[in-house]
């Protein structure tokens, strides 16, 4: 299908984009467009105006500030895959990226777009949650930071409000004792996950602490599994604990019971990864 008619404006600066957002009630921000254009083509959405933010080069940077890695909202998946900073300081993101869609989509899709769209089966929202990162948001009245635990509020719903622009995500940079795990199941490589799990922890001797498990493809948002996290920290049976953490919804592809089973399988794999020291990978060519 073809999208319903809309106006188009190319923002020249962040201030310009914010002014356009303030002037036009019925509008959408266009970044990579890899989810937005599909929803417009299917006429699931029909805004009066698209505000193209692709020229805002300031939002395309990756930088380390102390112990925090800032990834600009317009960093594309392909750019993130090639980034030595992300490989070194955010290895969980590097583990997840190859699972996201396909080369032609990764060349265009943006990190900020994926977080803002908040698909419950997408990889990056779960990684943000697993890392305990923050989302930087700017609007006409100023800038604020929202913790990942508070950002995803419902199905495709986030803390972003009218007039807001997601400008960057902030992630705690990897330390020597950081441990990460990532696994997902999809019918075709690059598809949205049937079930997936992103995880981070810190190693203390033979034990794990600060375990954060973020499942995706399970519920309306990426979800923490607090019981399993505590079980992993105590060295107890995390898969058993998981049964009380998750209330998966079945979908057209997998029943709720199968999702519950698969979540346990993934937890087993990821728990093993968390137990192993991190292998620092090189960015993909």
């Amino acid at each position: 299908m073809k999208p319903a008619p809309f106006g188009y404006a190319k923002a020249k600066s962040l201030d310009h984009a914010i002014a356009l957002l303030a002037e036009h009630a019925d509008c959408r921000l266009l970044a990579g467009g890899q989810s937005l254009m599909a929803t417009l083509n299917m006429r699931l959405s029909a805004p009066a105006l698209l505000i193209d933010i692709n020229a805002l080069d300031d939002l395309g940077r990756i930088s380390l500030d102390g112990d925090t890695l800032e990834i600009g909202a317009l960093v594309r998946h392909a750019g993130a895959e090639r980034s030595p900073e992300i490989s070194r300081h955010a290895p969980l993101i590097a583990l997840a990226l190859p699972h996201i869609a396909h080369p032609a989509i990764r060349n265009r899709g943006t990190i900020g777009g994926s977080i803002a769209f908040a698909d419950p089966a997408a990889e990056l929202p779960a990684c943000l949650l697993a890392l305990g990162g923050e989302v930087a948001i700017t609007n006409a009245t100023g800038t604020r930071r929202v913790a990942a635990d508070d950002f995803f509020t419902g199905l495709f719903e986030t803390a972003l409000g009218t007039g807001d622009i997601l400008t960057a995500i902030h992630l705690p940079a990897a330390r020597a004792d950081s441990r990460y795990g990532f696994a997902e199941l999809a019918r075709r490589h690059g598809d949205y996950a049937l079930v997936g799990l992103a995880a981070s922890a810190r190693a203390e001797g033979k034990h794990l602490k600060d375990v954060r498990l973020a499942f995706f493809g399970i519920d309306a948002t990426p979800v923490r599994a607090h019981g399993a996290e505590a079980a992993l920290e105590r060295g107890e049976d995390a898969v058993a604990a998981l049964a009380r953490d998750l209330e998966p919804d079945g979908d057209i592809q997998v029943s709720a019971a199968a999702k519950r089973h698969l979540a346990g399988v993934l937890l087993g794999r990821v728990a093993k990864q968390l137990g192993e020291p991190r292998q620092l990978g090189e960015p993909r060519p």
């Binding site: 809309f6 188009y8 266009l30 890899q34 083509n41 193209d52 080369p103 690059g190």
Partner: protein, 162 residues
């Protein structure tokens, strides 16, 4: 400038193009309907099938998920341009020799996607080839012949054979 219609100037297959476009027109519809470049195909129109794959500023993208109006000032290359330059002549020959196409609907997108992998150099594994092509649907061949063709060209290029 929040209008529906915009003037754009871009380079398509090396030729300068100036047109007035409706903001809602996708790049692939613009190439096919306005420029008559019908080698890029329109399949699913929501980014799943890969039939509309073209190059924007040197990298492959979905022609159905990018707007023509966004391509003002950009360089676009389609299967027609890449065929004319001879860049993928060996890959096209391998597709023909190995029966890697039947109806041909997916082929332009498949070729451009495969060329991205091949341009990195080296000989990718069959698994890497499959993973790289996973975003391009083929409903005829069952993919084996396509993987054969891409693998054969990777080997030939690595060995410096024509």
């Amino acid at each position: 400038m929040t209008e529906r219609f915009h003037d754009i100037a871009l380079t398509v297959n090396g030729e300068p193009v100036r047109e007035r476009v409706d903001a809602r027109k996708s790049l692939v519809d613009f190439l096919r309907d306005d420029l008559g470049l019908t080698g890029s195909h329109v399949g699913c129109e929501h980014g799943v099938c890969g039939a509309c794959t073209v190059r924007l500023d040197g990298v492959i993208i979905r022609g159905c998920l990018t707007l023509a109006v966004q391509c003002d000032g950009a360089r676009v290359d389609t299967i027609e341009g890449v065929s004319d330059t001879g860049e993928i002549a060996d890959l096209q020959a391998a597709f023909q020799t190995r029966n890697a196409l039947q109806c041909g609907f997916c082929t332009p997108g498949m070729l451009l996607t495969a060329q991205m992998l091949l341009a990195r150099g080296g000989v990718p594994s069959r698994e890497e080839i499959r993973e790289h092509l996973s975003g391009n649907y083929c409903r005829c061949t069952g993919y084996h012949a396509i993987v054969d063709a891409v693998e054969a060209v990777a080997r030939a290029r690595a060995e410096g054979r024509p």
